[in-house]
């Protein structure tokens, strides 16, 4: 099990297996962890596609910026994303789902980590978790198609192409 899958499993554990004393903290950590599970899935997939040393792959992973990744995901979600091919590739439904999940989970992560006025219910914490699980399934389904390769590159360097 890779770190992304471990984080996803941990998010599920935090949402369901906690003492009532720590309920709000557990829900918050679950939501935040679900986001980082998807983040590390995508970053890890990008690094694996680059044939460098382990150290260089780590450097590549550290180059990913959360705001760039959101911007690209928004472009995919809105249908305005352009691939690098002369002939535009259609965005598979599964990739659209992954992009939507990234946008939603990042916002939920910010709320979970920084908005201490918000009271979380189980359903509010479970929805991001199930969204992350579905995004993992969709990524596994679509990852060998051409568009996801370009999506990973765009996540690294931004949505604009020259």
């Amino acid at each position: 099990m890779g770190i992304a899958e471990e984080l996803l499993a941990l998010a599920g554990h935090l949402a369901t297996s906690h003492s009532p004393t720590f309920e709000q903290a557990a829900f918050r950590r679950s939501v935040s962890t679900a986001y980082y599970a998807l983040f590390h899935l995508l970053v890890g997939e990008a690094a694996q596609r680059w044939n460098g040393s382990a150290e260089a792959q780590l450097g590549l992973e550290r180059a990913f910026k959360h705001n760039n990744m959101k911007e690209v995901s928004v472009a995919v979600s809105k249908g305005s994303w352009k691939t690098w091919s002369a002939e535009q590739k259609s965005v598979p439904r599964e990739l659209l789902n992954v992009a939507d999940a990234f946008i939603d989970l990042q916002e939920a992560r910010h709320l979970a980590d920084y908005d201490n006025t918000k009271i979380w219910t189980f359903t509010e914490a479970d929805a991001p978790l199930t969204q992350a699980r579905t995004a993992f399934e969709n990524w596994r389904t679509v990852q060998t198609n051409p568009a996801p390769h370009e999506f990973l590159l765009a996540l690294l360097i931004g949505k604009k192409r020259e």
């Binding site: 809105k78 990042q106 189980f122 929805a127 969204q131």
Partner: protein, 100 residues
């Protein structure tokens, strides 16, 4: 922009009808997300059956996508649509006015 925002209640009503009885009601407000991008935040109250872990993923995915697509269709392409979900029994306990 104002005319388009005025159409949001129509989107909400249509989604409530389309996804009944899983969706009981939808409330919303506009503002900015944590990154500072303009956004619309939907609060979707679900039936207890729809909120069960085995059902939530499917129901939430459909509602989320519908609301996001409809906001785009209105021409609100600069505004991101976010949806959060709560069960009826959770809301009955919390009695949060923003979800009433």
């Amino acid at each position: 922009m104002i005319a388009q925002l005025n159409d949001i209640p129509k989107i909400v009503k249509a989604a409530e009808e389309k996804f009944a009885p899983d969706v009981i009601r939808i409330r919303y407000h506009t503002g900015f997300d944590w990154s500072g991008d303009p956004a619309i935040f939907f609060r979707v109250l679900l039936s207890d059956t729809a909120s069960r872990p085995e059902n939530l993923g499917h129901v939430a995915d459909r509602v989320r996508r519908e609301l996001r697509d409809e906001v785009l269709r209105l021409g609100e392409s600069e505004r991101l649509a976010y949806s959060t979900f709560r069960s009826k029994s959770e809301q009955d306990k919390l009695k949060d006015p923003q979800w009433e």
